[in-house]
């Protein structure tokens, strides 16, 4: 299904190019350039009082193409015991909320949002899985194995940070090429989407939000390509680890947990994450 959508989009791009409205790549992606070209062409037809023919109908359909893909969300930590390199909990918020509870809640919200997007867009089928459904811990390898077992296109591990009660910011981490990442460019693109989306969502509620950026020099067990089986897979899983914020900072705790709008902020973060994942799936469809 995904291939046919790409073909339709390519056809639309070729049609628009032939009519002199589009000068971009014939890549099957439907970015701003293609949308603008289609809008301009539609305006031209309306102005000329021409009927949109079958060829143009194909163009119209392609602008609402479906999205397919498998997404695995990994709520960091969980349970009571350390297992396979995964601690039950690392950060605790200023008011005492545990990171493991926050990661699980955010993963559930992102899944809900992805399911909503999938049902709302015709011909879409986004499969979403969580590495853990409740308060239990999985080793880092086992978390990556869930992504491998589900043949995930995208794997996002969700964490919150803690340090000295003052440092804050959002950062997204990927495995470095030096540590065996076989698809660092794709991981980096996913990480950039997630990072910019989540940061913008937080900034929208808090001017003090800080963008710590994407860090591509990391050695993180849950992102190891051998565990994701990327070196042997034809279709490599794109993976990153999001550190939403430093929850041991009082103002961050207020933003995400104790403040009046905390629930809305968390929901907006989830929406931003879902949107970033959808964009990544679209870019690879």
């Amino acid at each position: 299904m995904a291939a046919s959508i790409v073909d339709i989009r390519k056809l639309a791009q070729v049609t628009l190019r032939d009519k002199g409205f589009y000068s971009g790549e014939i890549d099957g992606l439907w970015g701003k350039g293609s949308k603008a070209a289609f809008a301009e062409y539609s305006g031209f037809l309306r102005a000329a009082k021409l009927e949109i023919g079958s060829e143009d109908a194909i163009v119209e359909d392609s602008s609402v193409g479906g999205i397919t893909g498998v997404v695995v969300l990994d709520p960091g930590h969980g349970g009571q015991q350390k297992t396979g390199g995964s601690s039950p909990n690392n950060a605790t918020s200023y008011s005492g909320v545990k990171e493991k509870a926050m990661t699980l809640e955010l993963a559930r919200l992102v899944r809900k949002e992805l399911n909503r997007i999938s049902s709302a867009r015709p011909d879409s089928n986004i499969e979403v899985h969580l590495t853990r459904a409740g308060d239990r811990n999985l080793g880092l390898t086992d978390r990556a194995r869930v992504a491998r077992a589900k043949a995930a296109d995208v794997f996002v591990s969700i964490h919150y940070n803690g340090y000295d009660g003052r440092v804050r910011g959002t950062e997204t981490l990927i495995l470095s090429a030096a540590n065996g990442n076989t698809n660092p460019a794709d991981d980096g693109a996913l990480a950039e989407r997630v990072q910019s989306g989540v940061f913008a969502a937080l900034k929208n509620h808090d001017p003090g939000a800080r963008n710590r950026g994407v860090k591509d020099n990391q050695r993180l067990g849950v992102l190891k390509d051998v565990h994701l089986q990327n070196p042997r897979a034809a279709l490599k899983t794109r993976a990153c680890l999001l550190e939403v914020e430093f929850i041991d900072v009082e103002v961050v705790d207020e933003l995400l947990n104790t403040g009046q709008d905390a629930k809305t902020v968390r929901l907006d973060v989830a929406r931003a994450m879902a949107q970033a994942i959808v964009e990544d799936l679209e870019a690879h469809s």
């Binding site: 390199g85 690392n90 605790t92 993180l220 680890l241």
Partner: protein, 136 residues
């Protein structure tokens, strides 16, 4: 000028010289090195002494090590922290895990400099750690 006036001026100059030295970061670092051990983390985050211990957790063990009051205890506590939390395969769990293990190793390097009496190296190590904290 009387002898009393001379002593007053001399005292004034001494105080002035002391104040200038106290403002010089290099001298401050030297004092750090000579003083009884206080982890750089605790120097930067004195509130760590007020925190309640939560043994077994990354943060709890880190804070416990950061509270050590002498070189021997500090070496033992930081080493235990590294033994417990530095992953054997070198791959971390998350950003927090990587930061704390890196910090513990820097404290151990500093303690090594103290043990060998290399105060200049310790000063350099302290400066690196403070820069690291500022970057974070």
């Amino acid at each position: 000028m009387s002898a009393t006036q001379g002593r007053k001026i001399s005292t004034l100059y001494s105080c002035l010289a002391f104040a200038m030295l106290a403002c010089c970061p290099a001298i401050l670092s030297a004092q750090d090195a000579l003083a009884p051990y206080v982890s750089v983390w605790a120097q930067l985050n004195p509130e760590v002494f007020e925190t309640v211990d939560s043994p077994g957790s990354l943060l709890g063990e880190f804070r416990a090590a950061a509270k050590a009051g002498d070189d021997q205890t500090a070496r033992k506590d930081w080493q235990r922290f590294v033994d417990d939390f530095d992953p054997q395969d070198g791959f971390f769990e998350d950003g927090m895990h990587a930061r704390f293990v890196e910090w513990a190793k820097m404290e151990l390097v500093r303690l090594q400099h103290r043990a060998s009496g290399d105060l200049a190296a310790e000063r350099a190590q302290i400066a690196i750690m403070r820069q690291q904290a500022e970057r974070d």
